[in-house]
């Protein structure tokens, strides 16, 4: 903590090293815990995650969701009720040692089979619908691939929302509302653009009718899967016997959806998307410290300058800006370096000269530029600069994302696109089970994954052929490399 921090790694040339290093140097995570796949999230990471949770929970509550806490363990009999679900998740489950008098217990990899046992007890009539609950929770999945902190670990931190409706129409509307929520929070607040992708039949959530995933991209061209929303239809309501009486007293199975933003994983995108060769760049709205104040003093004027710094800090606090004064014994240059690496959006340097002139230099993390601001208007200015800061991050991310999608007309072009860190847009035969062979071809020969089709359906021209098998192309799919 007192140590001099040196961070200067090329994100462009060696993203993988850059990412590992920044997590260590900015004290976001630590991989040295003695169990494979279980990663410690340190205070700087936890503070960001808490702010991200806050925005997500607000968005959920605004759309009629309420919080709850459900158990972490699932009795085997619950877990096995929906046949596709158990098939899909079985290999990833951590089981508990036998507990006296209990069915075998699983640690939740996801909580459909926890919530829905209760839903079958709670729901009786149309009056209870819609029912929209969520929980913030840690979940557990037995991953066999290499751990990548925040991206792939055996325990992660997410929100899961489980919604119940009287009709299929309402459930489908919820799926769209979930995608809008991803857009409003993950894209517009956290600055992570994504493609809302309807997954191919062979890649949907186990137990769902269909799945809309959100795929974003990492600077090394790898796609990263972000929040998914699933139309569960009546698969689980039939398995768990969740029925309601409609207004005509007729009994029906309910319609269900679920939605799962993994906050720790979205943080991976935030770090990867916005960071630069000097370290983190955090969006203003989720930065634990939004402005750091660096007092520049000699022994003579120390007291006065610290007082002025305090005054500014107090003003910021009253205006809802989180600020911190760095009055440690490090040299100013070291402090600059440290807080740039931590991704703090604004740095305010204040010394004798600044107090006299009534103006300070505000250093802007992403631009690495200084602007002059009057001390009198500082809170107002920082808020405005903060809004501009976040808008700029979104815009830059959007540009990068837009440029990373490549229209492909031949197999070679797919290969080229994937080789140059892009997502390939491909005319394709079919995303129902008929297309699985072509998807396997892409996986084996191009080491890429078929992400699916855009939620807002695009159709290839009538004469298009599937670039893999040459049959008629009925879909426009996207494919990319992933970890």
């Amino acid at each position: 903590m007192g140590d001099k921090v040196t961070f200067n790694i090329s994100k462009k040339n060696n993203f993988s090293k850059w990412y590992s290093e920044i997590l260590n140097k900015a004290e976001i995570t630590d991989m040295r815990y003695k169990v494979k796949g279980f990663v410690v999230i340190r205070p700087w990471g936890a503070l960001i995650i808490e702010k991200m949770y806050k925005f997500y929970e607000q968005a959920l509550q605004r759309t009629g969701h309420l919080p709850s806490f459900f158990p972490s363990v699932i009795p085997k009999e619950n877990f096995e009720k929906e046949s596709e679900h158990v098939k899909g998740f079985q290999p990833e489950v951590f089981w508990l040692d036998d507990v006296k008098g209990e069915s075998k217990l699983a640690l939740r990899p996801t909580s459909e089979t926890v919530f829905y046992q209760m839903y079958s007890l709670w729901i009786r009539s149309w009056r209870e619908l819609p029912l929209k609950l969520y929980q913030r929770a840690n979940v557990f999945r037995y991953e066999t691939k290499a751990t990548r902190p925040l991206i792939r670990a055996r325990e992660f931190y997410w929100i899961e929302a489980h919604d119940v409706f009287a009709t299929k129409k309402e459930a489908e509307e919820q799926v769209h509302e979930d995608v809008k929520m991803t857009e409003a929070v993950m894209h517009k607040i956290f600055g992570i653009p994504f493609l809302p992708m309807k997954r191919p039949e062979w890649d949907k959530f186990p137990g769902a009718e269909y799945t809309i995933g959100s795929d974003s991209i990492l600077p090394d061209g790898k796609i990263i899967q972000q929040p998914s929303t699933h139309l569960l239809g009546q698969n689980f309501s039939k398995a768990f016997d969740i029925k309601f009486k409609d207004k005509k007293e007729k009994e029906n199975y309910v319609w269900q959806t679920c939605y799962g933003p993994a906050i720790s994983r979205i943080l991976a995108s935030v770090i990867a998307m916005h960071g630069d060769d000097n370290g983190l760049v955090l969006p203003f709205l989720i930065a634990p410290i939004q402005a750091v104040i660096i007092p520049i003093y000699s022994a003579k004027n120390k007291r006065n300058i610290l007082q002025e710094s305090e005054k500014i800090s107090r003003l910021f606090f009253q205006q809802g800006i989180s600020a911190s004064i760095d009055d440690s014994e490090k040299r100013p240059g070291e402090k600059y370096f440290y807080w740039e690496m931590k991704g703090v959006p604004f740095r305010i340097e204040i010394g004798e000269k600044e107090i006299k002139s009534g103006t300070v230099d505000v250093f802007i993390r992403d631009l690495k530029e200084r602007v002059k601001c009057r001390i009198k208007n500082l809170s107002e200015d920082i808020k405005n600069l903060g809004a501009e800061f976040d808008a700029r991050l979104v815009k830059n991310a959007d540009n990068l994302f837009k440029n990373s999608i490549e229209n492909c007309k031949t197999k070679d072009e797919i290969k080229k696109a994937l080789g140059s860190k892009k997502i390939a847009r491909i005319p394709f035969c079919s995303v129902s089970d008929g297309g699985i062979k072509c998807a396997e071809y892409i996986e084996k020969n191009l080491q890429a994954r078929v992400m699916g089709t855009l939620l807002k359906k695009e159709k290839p021209s009538a004469s298009s052929k599937c670039l893999i098998c040459g049959k008629k192309a009925c879909e426009m799919i996207y494919a990319g490399k992933s970890y």
Copy 2:
């Protein structure tokens, strides 16, 4: 949810039934999940818990603590490092089925052996001290006694703070700061009075030098253990090899403390302490809805009255008061009943008459009285009434608590005190291991637990004898019945 709610159980005559019923009727918890000891916390409970977490986390951050997320699983080798600790917790541990390539894994019953492996990696010099981290987390304990929702379950929701210092003096100061935090948050905000008790030698936290518990009382005279803070001394730093170099470059083991407020358990006290025969009574500061607005309308004036209700609700929102309009189709009487049962502090009835006169009746949940307020000043008034509301709950709880401590001079008086739902204050031989026989006597013959001695040491008069064994009384202890 649409159902008419009937709740009218005597808390005084049948607390146990009252408590179970209120948890069901107010939709705080549900016991019907298919695994023994794992309780579902429903939205009304979760919303209160979230507010309680917020106050506790603020208090922790104000005293220099930072949040973090540590893994939920503990490798056996970590768990076994501190011999007293493992002895104490072993019987309560849920173990995972063997995981390939891993040491046997425990689900955390508490996280000393998780945090401290990392602390030994992070701490090198006095510059890193003090280190004060906390996490909000779910923990797991294999309880064999009957489940009591929020009071005793196999999974519960708490905060654990793990602090590290260079000297024993600082560590002991932290123990006192923790007790002050319990006082500031649990007593002054949540309205739960308690006795800070130094536990007898035989009842301290496994691995601690000593433990300060906080004991409160339930309306049936049972004591309920609330946040404990522990001076761990150097027991864990020696077991985990957590050393630092002091300013003279000399290597020392660190001094440690830990503190564990169980938020779900404090909610049990909040419900039990403040509720009445009509249902919950929630402190203003942690009520999910602080004021409910009931529009009283006919078909003719419905639109106008709903508009006025909206106006008030919007004003409340701007002033940071959480309000809700109940415009459901229930009759006003049913609505009154429902929100009283839910414990909402204030109810505002607004109809034609109120709009004309510019005044409304505000019904105050705990007093069951109405006061008139001008609509113009309503936000201000509600805030003031809210502060009075909470002060009143604290005062009432304090009175009840004060009256439930009985000075005992004979064995018979102990029996009488315990029989009349009181805590017995008893001259006692010793709280080091010499007193254990007398404690066992109290346990076996009076079915009560020796809680310990007051943190602020009291001494019995020089001639006092232990009421159990008749030897010299060196301590003044407290004993009570517990679940």
